[in-house]
Amino acid sequence: MSKQVKAKKKRLTFGQFLANNSVPIMFILFCAVCIPISGFSPSYLLNEIVTRMGRNTFLILCLLIPIMAGMGLNFGMTLGAMAGEIALIFVSDWQIWGIPGVVLAMILSIPISILLGAFCGGMLNRARGREMITSYIISFFINGVYQLVVLYMMGSIIPIKHSEIKLPRGYGIRNTVSLLNMRQCIDNLLAINVNGVKIPVLTFILIALLCLFIVWFRKTKLGQDMRAVGQDMEVARDAGIKVERTRIISIIMSTVFAGFGMILYLQNMGNLSTYSSHSQIGMFCIAALLVGGASVDRASIGNVFVGVTLFHLMFIVAPAAGAKITGDSMIGEYFRVFISYGVITVALIMYETKKRRNKSMAGQELAAAQKEEAQ
């Protein structure tokens, strides 16, 4: 009897494992099929993955803190990305190059990120239970403000000296700002080459530091408060935790790290697309995190690394595989775009379904208990 129960338990655990990791497993299978078709060599794929991991991981890690505080996937990370871009425009105009330029941009982005994060956190407190859609719409709203500042105020009210950055009309910033003088300055410092694969050691050190910070932060008083708020706001409030303040802090932290992440991302790219660099960044980071097996209410550092690897592996191989299969590389291009949005949709549906199922199970248990009591 006990053996049967054990076997059932084992089966359930395996089933649960499959259910919990359905998205990464699907992506592993997809990549396993596409890699041989694409014809890319392992060293090329490894090089690309390492580059993209260095470029994106910091940005994705910034999503973990709001999830910890029960605020779901922070689409408002775009706000931090915009703060980082504004800082980079200033640094570029002041001609501060190389690593000092990156450090200065990070410092400059902090007050802007704090301001935007505090605003976003305040708004999300007013829209409790609908944080994700609210943060998504706030990012559109702030994008409008960003365009107003960058397109009309910079060069007219905010001094911008260099004509290479300004639009020909004398104010506003050009569509593209060159970051050539700080291109890959972080990636190249301490970089090592292993069998043709360039490993940006300093970038990985920064990522490791953020991971360590997150691990340490979880154990602090504020981190514990955030987890408590994430589990149950009312219980946390009864325990004396300032729920609203804790939630705002989590969004501010996420926004500040998103600003840093965007600066690291753009120094790797070497140029800043002023009006569009930030627009899709939130979507792709969230998609990558979900591909790694995270959900709206649960995410870990492991999910970030699995996600960034699988998601970008798909990004690399899908167009080539699509071109080989159909003769048209655009098929792969479409595929990777709809997969990104599809993964987010599926994750949101799964989260809601699970929440409702749990709610209905709790209701049924309560009804059964009441029935028992009545008898």
């Binding site: 190059w97 690593i99 400059l108 397109l151 020909p168």
Partner: protein, 157 residues
């Protein structure tokens, strides 16, 4: 707010401002141009060497004959270059390393090599490089951002 917390916060802001100030100084980028052109200064003429090779960060950035210009980028104010000078055709090369303190407020700096080698004042051999905006760049129409509804920045659909 507790006094201790306030103290730490102000301390953090001061440290960040100090780091930012240091970064602004050590990270200031300059484009340095080397002119191997005859210089006339205070009624005297300083002639060009036959050939000058300019090395910056152990990399040759220019090989200049008479009336030629080279260029390098540099971060910070203490510019260091090594010049490999051949005074006359077929003559011996002399190599020497020089240091110049670059002016902070100039983006593009032109160094006149004959003036510099003659040991003149910095004002004599350093001039600011001011790029001339070409017709193309001043009339260039940039495509400004629109939105998903096809409304561009001027409000036209």
């Amino acid at each position: 707010m507790k006094k201790r917390t306030l103290f730490f916060r102000i301390g953090a802001i001061v440290i960040l401002l100090a780091i930012a100030a240091v970064m602004m100084v050590i990270g200031r980028g300059h484009t340095v141009y080397f002119d191997n052109k005859k210089l006339e200064y205070n009624g005297e003429t300083y002639d060009t060497p036959y050939k000058v090779c300019v090395y910056v960060n152990d990399e040759r950035v220019a090989k200049l004959y008479d009336k030629e210009r080279g260029m390098a980028t540099w971060i910070g104010q203490n510019f260091e270059m090594t010049l490999e000078i051949t005074q006359e055709k077929g003559g011996d090369e002399t190599t020497e390393t020089y240091q110049i303190t670059l002016p902070y407020n100039m983006d593009g700096i032109v160094i006149n090599l004959p003036g510099f080698l003659a040991g003149l004042d910095q004002d004599a051999y350093i001039t600011e490089f001011v790029p001339v905006a070409t017709e193309e760049t001043t009339t260039e129409e940039e495509e400004l951002p629109g939105d998903e509804f096809g409304i561009d920045i001027d409000g036209d659909i």
